[in-house]
Symmetry: C2
Subunit: 245 residues, 2 copies
């Protein structure tokens, strides 16, 4: 028996997110079925990040145990033959039998891509959120600086969650313009349900001039979801990397 760690990339457009659910196809289900075809074992992978419907990943992590004679490093190649082209195993490697992708300290990095242009771009419709109004990048960057550090992020958390501890640490939060896109890149020790998308929705209100940068600090301190901006749609979000410490 060995434990295998997968780095998984996917286009989330055609999936109901990572986690298995009765009413739609998920990444987890497709991986489990591909592993069954490959090994004949009923494997249930454990994912690091249960991304939402429509969210993409370049570096999600999953583990599973197997008695298969396939070497751990060969699983990436073997699985990619079984997977649809919108899911790719970037890397596979053996890991220790106790290692768990959710119970180990990690830094996760997400990117959110905003297409800031006069007209929508159909080629980018599944990977960006289209915003036609002008955005004040400096104000957004100033507002973002209030969110870096250890805070209670309950104001930036979907109210349908029931985690006990809403304190998280954001190590880095950058906002940059690249051609017609504005990219928000955020690294933290973990994120609450919809947290990145609510942060983006709030910073967009700053960029548009509806909130001052300082108000984001007040929203954080208010500890009330209703004070923050909307949850922006999923297709602009990419889980780019999970770095275990």
């Amino acid at each position: 028996m060995k434990r295998v760690k997968l780095t998984v990339a996917y286009d989330g457009t055609n999936y109901c997110g990572w986690q298995i659910q009765p009413n739609g196809l998920t990444i987890e289900e497709v991986l489990n079925k591909a592993l069954y075809r490959l090994t004949g074992e009923k494997i249930a992978v454990i994912g690091a990040s249960r991304t939402d419907s429509g969210v993409h990943a370049l570096g999600n992590i999953a583990v599973f145990d197997t008695d298969s004679p396939i070497p751990a490093q060969r699983f990436s190649y073997a699985l990619n033959q079984q997977l649809p082209e919108d899911i790719v195993i970037v890397r596979s490697e053996e890991t220790s039998s106790e290692w768990h992708p959710r119970y180990c300290n990690s830094r996760k990095t997400y990117e959110y891509h905003i297409l800031n242009a006069k007209v929508p771009n159909p080629i980018k419709r599944q990977t960006t959120y289209f915003v036609s109004y002008p955005l004040n990048l400096e104000d957004m960057q100033k507002a973002a600086s209030y969110l870096v550090g250890e805070h209670d992020f309950v104001s930036f958390c979907n109210i349908r969650t029931n985690v006990e501890n809403t304190v998280r640490t954001i190590y880095d939060l950058q906002i940059l313009r690249k051609e017609d896109e504005i990219i928000l890149r955020i690294t933290g020790n973990g994120f609450l349900y919809n947290m990145v998308r609510i942060i983006v929705g709030t910073l967009l209100r700053v960029g548009r001039g509806f909130y001052t940068p300082k108000q984001v600090k007040e929203i954080l301190e208010a500890q009330n979801r209703n004070t923050a901006g909307i949850t922006v749609p999923p297709q602009g979000l990419i889980l780019t990397e999970i770095c275990y410490l």
Copy 2:
């Protein structure tokens, strides 16, 4: 009666190209049907570039004549309400009643995007051609320089074509690296069937070291399709702009 000129952007993934055909949905057909719903007139648009199945566009051009009271500039907004989200009218404007998008001199610009990385990126699978081997960019650029200018491009033309004149002028051909992509940007007064994709297939053989840059000059002079490289797949190709002189 007025003639309206449309600038059309589309994600070609789900279409059998621009031109109406019996066995699959095309951009032209979707535009005609949207115009019918909008005006009640049986309109047949005339496109500047009949892009192939799977090819994308940011700036294809189409014209049509109409008696509709809708002002020419408003057609972009009105049509976008009728169109699926993978086709977008970027601009609409009135043009003279004799103006024809294929019989006027123009400069067309295409981009071809190559994902040059160790593993495929599922998020870019519909907009890039994945090439995992290392590419010598300088050699590719040197080879490309032989193609600039007025030449008979019959070596770079699909043999199933039957145009009489295979002489075209390439004004500019640039190859640049941008993160994990290599982008070829080509501007010419017109392109033969599959010409851009065969040029890319040939330059990739140079980048891989199978051809010297000088051999591309010989391929051009040979006037024989069999000497050139493969026709690379359509999804990396974008018609970015058509500029009328």
